[in-house]
Structures are given as C-alpha cells and as structure tokens.
C-alpha cells in the first residue's frame, strides 16, 4: 500500500494528458486530413489511383483528385508517388470524424471545419454521458486497442462521461470496428436489438466506415438491417485523439468547452 503511494507520488506522477482542450501531442510523421491542391492533374496521370490499396482517391471532373478518408489507410503512398505534389497529408489536422459520409471526402482547396452535433436530442441525452458497447466485427485489434487506450489514465475518457459498458442494455451507442464479417453479422444484430432506444452507431476505422481493405471480400457483410451510422471515424486505426475528439463532437461538446 505504502509502496503504491510512493510510486504514484515520486515516480509515476499525474499523467493524464492536457488534451482537450490543449492540442494533442501527435507523432512526427502523423498523417491527418489530406490536403489536395486545386490545379488540374495531367490528363494521362493516374498514379495515385493505381497505387491506392483501397481506391480512396478518385478524379472528379476536370481531373481534380478527391480523397475519401473513410476508405483511406493513411499510408501516404499517394503523396509519395504524385509527381505533381497534388496530395499531401496535414501533420496537425487530426479532427477527422464526421456525421455523414460526405464530410469525410477531402477535396481541393476546401475550408475544412469539423461539424459539431446539431441534433438537440443527442446533445440532451448524450451530451454529458455516453455509454458505449464496442463490437469487434472482423477488426484486426488495432482499432480495439486504441479505443481501449482512451480508458487508460493517459486519456481518461471517463472524465467526459464516456464509458465502455459490457451490456448492450446499458449502452447509448455501439462502436463497431472491422468490416462486419458474415460470421459476426448476427451477433451484431442481436446486440443492437438489445439496446434501448434512442441509440446510435459509431463506425470506427476505415474497415467499419467503408469496408476498407475488405470492402470487396466475399466474407464482408453489410450492417444488419435497421442500423445506420451516426458517427464515422476514419483511420487505420484512428489515433486516440481523433477518436476522442470525434466522440466529444458527437456529444455536442466543442474542444474548447470540454470541462
């Protein structure tokens, strides 16, 4: 007992991060929201599209690239390979979550401002307390681990009223990781059916958002009937700061007014 106290006081200390409201500390080489340049690409060049493992980049009219962060693995290959330097990744814009699929698509010269929850009912019910039942449905364990990390003292999501719960009966939201395999579809359906309404669906990571690498796999099923996603969080896996920030915005809490 005394040893534990001594450890806490003199060695381990207080380690909960200052984020939010302070900016999160992101690693060198962090790849955040893609930045696309507006100039039209040469008519014959499609190197980014040919390289992208998930088909996240497409050329819109006028040969301007657009990048779907919901499919993106953030490998950065497109940026590396583009001779025109038309694609790069922000080293600081970690706020990637969106309430619609459209918000996830980066286009040239956008003025990106992540949306805050407008739905009054969600703000009222979930604004100060969001209980989450996480379901891994073909996840590779990375999304799961980095959601778990929000529970550690370094991130301590509990201080915002966010908690992972065991029973779907106690949950406000289900957080799905993985592309939803056929073999997990029924379990996911049963879990969702057991949740009291209103309840919400969070798709965490590129697999859950779009199928990602596994979008075309014959083992990949769709979301069970009646489920539609209320919050999309891109990444492979999403950085803990990206996920936490998205959850807070979903609850209607701006990063500046967290406490």
């Amino acid at each position: 007992m005394l040893d534990a106290l001594r450890s806490r006081l003199f060695c381990q200390g207080f380690r909960t991060g200052k984020f939010p409201p302070a900016a999160p500390s992101l690693p060198d080489g962090f790849r955040g929201r893609p930045i696309l340049s507006g100039g039209a690409c040469p008519a014959t060049c499609a190197r980014c599209m040919e390289t992208c493992p998930t088909g996240a980049i497409v050329m819109t009219e006028g040969k301007r690239p657009s990048l779907d962060t919901g499919k993106c693995l953030f490998c950065g290959k497109c940026a590396q390979i583009c001779p025109e330097k038309a694609v790069s990744f922000s080293a600081t814009e970690y706020r990637l979550g969106g309430f619609t699929r459209e918000e996830l698509i980066a286009v040239p010269e956008e003025s990106y401002l992540p949306a805050i929850q407008k739905d009054e009912a969600i703000r009222k019910i979930a604004g100060r307390s969001l209980k989450i039942r996480q379901i891994s449905a073909g996840g590779c364990a990375a999304c799961e681990l980095d959601f778990n990390v929000l529970n550690t003292l370094a991130w301590d999501m509990g201080r915002f009223g966010i908690q992972a719960v065991a029973s779907p009966r106690h949950a406000d939201a289900v957080l799905i990781t993985g592309p939803v395999t056929h073999n997990m579809q029924l379990a996911l359906q049963k879990c969702y059916d057991a949740m009291p309404h209103p309840c919400w669906v969070i798709a965490c990571g590129s697999c859950a958002v779009s199928g990602g690498l596994y979008a075309d796999a014959p083992t990949t099923a769709r979301l069970p009937e009646g489920m539609h996603v209320d919050l999309f969080v891109p990444g492979c896996p999403p950085h803990p700061a990206t996920l936490l920030e998205a959850l807070l915005r979903f609850m209607g809490r701006t990063p500046e007014a967290q406490a």
Binding site: D3, S7, R8, Q12, P27, G29, T51, G76, N183, M184
Partner: protein, 488 residues
C-alpha cells in the same frame, strides 16, 4: 531417397525439387521426425490435392519440407502426433480433405456454415452445468465463443470456437502480390504488424522481389519488432494486474504501453508500425542518428517507470498468490500440442524463432529459466523478455549512423515462379510463420500465415482443466491470443 528438402529461413526452393512421397512414406517420415522430438510442426496444409508439411529443426536451424499427393482422404496424424490436430481440422474445413481417424473433426473458423453451431464435447451427469460465453465478450476485445463444462466451480473442459473474425485473408492473398498485399499482411493481426511485415519481406526477398536489405534496414526491422514486443508485453502485464484487481500496476502500465506505441509512431506516424517495414530497403520510416538519440533518451526516461510499475506487482504477495499455480500447462502437454512463444517457454519448452531460425540481426537470445507453466510463469517470461528487448533495442539504436531515408517505393519485381519460400519470425506472442507458393506466372498460388495463436489456443483450453471458472480471465489474459490472426 530424400524424404525432406532442407531450407533455411528467408530462402526458397523450386517446387520441382521438393520430394513427392507416397502417403505412407509421407506419414512415416513426418511422424518419425515429430515423435523423436527433434522437430516441431511449423505448417501443414494442402494446395489442390497435394499435402505439404513444414517441420522446424531448431538444432539444424532449418526447415524440413516434404509433400505427397492424396485423394479425398488420408489417415490422420493427430492420434500419433497431437500437434497436427488443429492443422488437420483446418485442412478438412478449407480443402475438404478428410484426415480419417481424427478424434474431433470440426471447423476452426466457419468459413461455411454458422459460427459456433457445431458439436460440443458434452459430458453427461446430473450435477454438471454448461456456461456459454460470447462471441461478444464483456470487455473491448475480439469475438470468440467459449463453452465451459463445469462441475460446481470446477471446469472440466473448455471448448473454444473461433471464426467470427474470418475475413478471408488467405483467399485475398492468393493471386497476388498486388497493391493490397502488404496491407493485408499488416492487418492479419493488427497488433503484430511489424513482425508480419518482416516475415513477408523475408519471403519477398527470398523470391527475388526485392534486393536483400542493408544492415540499416535489418536494424530497423529489429527495432520495430522489439518495440512491438515491449508495448504488448507491458500491456499484458498491466492487464494481468488489472484482472487480479491490482490497480496501480494496471494503471501505470496502461499509460507506459502508450509511450512505446508512441515511439513506434515517432518513426512512421502510426502507433502500430503500419508502413514501417517493407521488402528490401523500402521503408516508411526515417531513422537517423538524431531520431535514434531521441528514442534512447525517451527509453531512459520511461524504463525506470516501467521497472517501478512491475516491481510493485511482483513484490505484492497478494497479487502473486493469484498468479501462482493458476492455469498450469505441463511441459508435456505444451510439447505434444505444439505450443510456441511466451506460453511455450513458460511451460519450459526451449524454443524461440530468433535462436532456432536466425533472421534479421538476431543472435543468441538467452534462455529463460522459467517453466512452471502457470499464469505466473507466463508473466515472468514477459518480464524477462522485456529486459532482453530493451537491451536489443538500445544496442540497435546506439549503432544507428544513418539509414533508411524514406526510400520511395521502388517497384517490386515479380516473384520467382514455381517456388516455395519461407519467412519465420519470433513475433511477440511467439513464432509467426509465413510461406508463399508461387505458380508458373510468378503469382502467389497459396500464401500461408500461421499465427502463434494458431498453435496456442488449445493450450488455453488445457490451462482451464480442473481450474475454477473464475480464474478464466487471468488465464486468458496470460495467453492473450489473437482472434483475427487465427481466423484470418
């Protein structure tokens, strides 16, 4: 007549040079080797109607390969060498080949049918009861279905049904390599990305897709793999502490694990080492002297905090009492079932792919003198490996002069046709075995991934026999096996 082709790690042979035995010769040759204890089963699979066996000979630092043609069925090996039992179930499920005489033939990942709906081992008796758990578990963890047959509090048998995570990775890898291949490998088990990419890179190099890596690139692989090992071992020890309600270590380790993930992220931008390792000298990382010094200083700061957190746990008799003599797997059981890695070493098996099939820059990892086979032993193996990993890591970082300056993707060449290549590494859970078979056009006709969990899931069942059901969480955590790495 040669019964086996003998090849080293990270090399390939032509398919034509592989012995083709009769079923009887094949069976005898393989059983002789495995029963004598001189080799262990690395892989056992079929392509079409050809059976392949890959055995590992630790003394010769080599793999023994052989094959035979079969029809729909062949006499099962499991009764004579139990380490084949899971492989034969896989063979039956994936290739519809029947190992005749297998004691309990049923699917391992339910690529057809409904997962979990199968025969269960059901003892009869008035006072028995059955506890079914999952696929969805209480915590934030991958899905699997566990059935406990209990007499009062005592577990008579635990059956583990997996397959919920089945994403069809093997089918997607066949026909490659293509632009998805490297990413599929990295996400086969997302907590083992660096080790998996190292194994794939070794295969790519063995098949002539990329030049052999420079010393710098090899060092980077070891740095990435040891960081991965440290992060996961720290997380596991913290989680074990949490499961016995020893919260200080659980809390401290949860944060400290993140520090090591962030070290990996500081190299490549991703906490799980995605894009960090690539065949040849390609890499998504910058590791120069400045970066190395930054990591050395970082470790110097964190390591004492880790030691402090672990000392608290290992000095607390009340916590240790829960770990000792819990979930024992005997050496004999572990050997017969082909246990590997942390769990294997905890049951006094002498195996480590870093010693047995040398790769990258690994030389002689000291043997760990722990062998009681209980939860405590699995914890102590991790603690001791943490020390060794730090040593290797610092050795590498101090040797960094200048390396891997973000070499842009040089296109890979097409793999050498009609060949078989092997890449085996010691991932943090245990040995991770990759094998690629190429066709005449230089495409993968089969790409095998054998995760250490594939060998070890049944060990968890054995650990529960005679155990109180309330000890399941710490037993499970002490193995911490991968569901997706198994289900693929």
């Amino acid at each position: 007549m040669n019964l086996f082709s003998v090849i080293k790690n990270q090399t390939s042979i032509r398919r034509a040079d592989l012995p083709r035995l009769s079923v009887e010769e094949f069976r005898q040759a393989v059983l002789d080797k495995v029963q004598s204890g001189s080799t262990r089963v690395m892989d056992f699979f079929a392509e079409g109607r050809t059976l392949y066996a890959v055995l590992g000979d630790a003394n010769a630092h080599a793999f023994l390969l052989t094959s035979c043609e079969i029809n729909q069925e062949y006499p099962s090996l499991t009764a004579d060498a139990p380490a084949f039992h899971w492989f034969e179930r896989e063979l039956w499920e994936q290739n519809h080949i029947r190992p005749v005489g297998h004691p309990f033939l049923k699917p391992i990942r339910f690529s057809e049918g409904v997962p979990g709906v199968t025969n269960y081992f059901t003892p009869a008796g008035d006072n028995l009861h059955e506890v079914a758990v999952g696929p969805i578990h209480a915590g934030v963890i991958e899905p699997g279905h566990f059935r406990f047959q209990c007499l009062g509090e005592t577990v008579l048998n635990l059956e583990i049904e997996l397959g919920y995570q089945h994403r069809g990775i093997a089918a997607m890898l066949a026909g490659g390599p293509d632009r998805k291949t490297e990413f599929l490998i990295e996400t086969a088990a997302g907590d083992t990305s660096a080790a998996a990419m190292t194994a794939y890179s070794m295969i790519a190099e063995a098949l002539g897709m990329a030049p052999l890596p420079t010393a710098g690139a090899l060092r980077l692989r070891r740095v990435a793999m040891e960081l991965e090992r440290i992060a996961n071992h720290v997380g596991d020890l913290g989680a074990l502490a949490g499961d016995v309600a020893f919260l200080p270590t659980a809390s401290f380790c949860g944060r400290i694990r993140g520090e090591y993930l962030n070290m990996t992220a500081s190299l490549c931008g991703n906490r799980f080492g995605r894009n960090l390792i690539r065949p040849g000298d390609r890499s998504g990382a910058v590791l120069d002297a400045k970066q190395a010094q930054k990591l050395i200083d970082w470790i110097a700061r964190i390591k004492p905090e880790l030691d402090n957190a672990l000392t608290l746990l290992f000095d607390a008799p009340s916590a240790l009492d829960r770990l000792e003599n819990t979930g024992v797997v005997s050496t004999e059981t572990a050997r017969l079932l082909g246990g590997v890695g942390v769990a294997g070493r905890a049951s006094a098996l002498v195996l480590d792919a870093r010693n047995d099939f040398p790769f990258a820059t690994y030389r002689k990892i000291p043997r760990i003198e722990v062998g009681s086979g209980d939860v405590m032993a699995r914890a102590l193996v991790r603690r001791s490996e943490l020390e060794e990993s730090h040593k290797l890591l610092l050795e590498d970082l101090r040797a960094v002069e200048n390396m891997t300056e973000n070499v842009p993707d040089a296109p890979l060449k097409s793999p050498q046709p009609d060949s078989i290549a092997i890449g085996c590494v010691e991932a943090w859970r245990g040995e991770l075995f990759h094998a690629a078979l190429t066709d005449g056009q230089g495409k993968f006709s089969t790409y095998r991934i054998v995760d250490p969990s594939f060998h070890n899931w049944y060990l968890l069942s054995m650990a529960l026999r005679g155990e109180e059901i309330s000890n399941f969480p710490i037993c499970n955590k002490s193995f911490n096996l991968s569901y997706c790495g198994h289900d693929l």
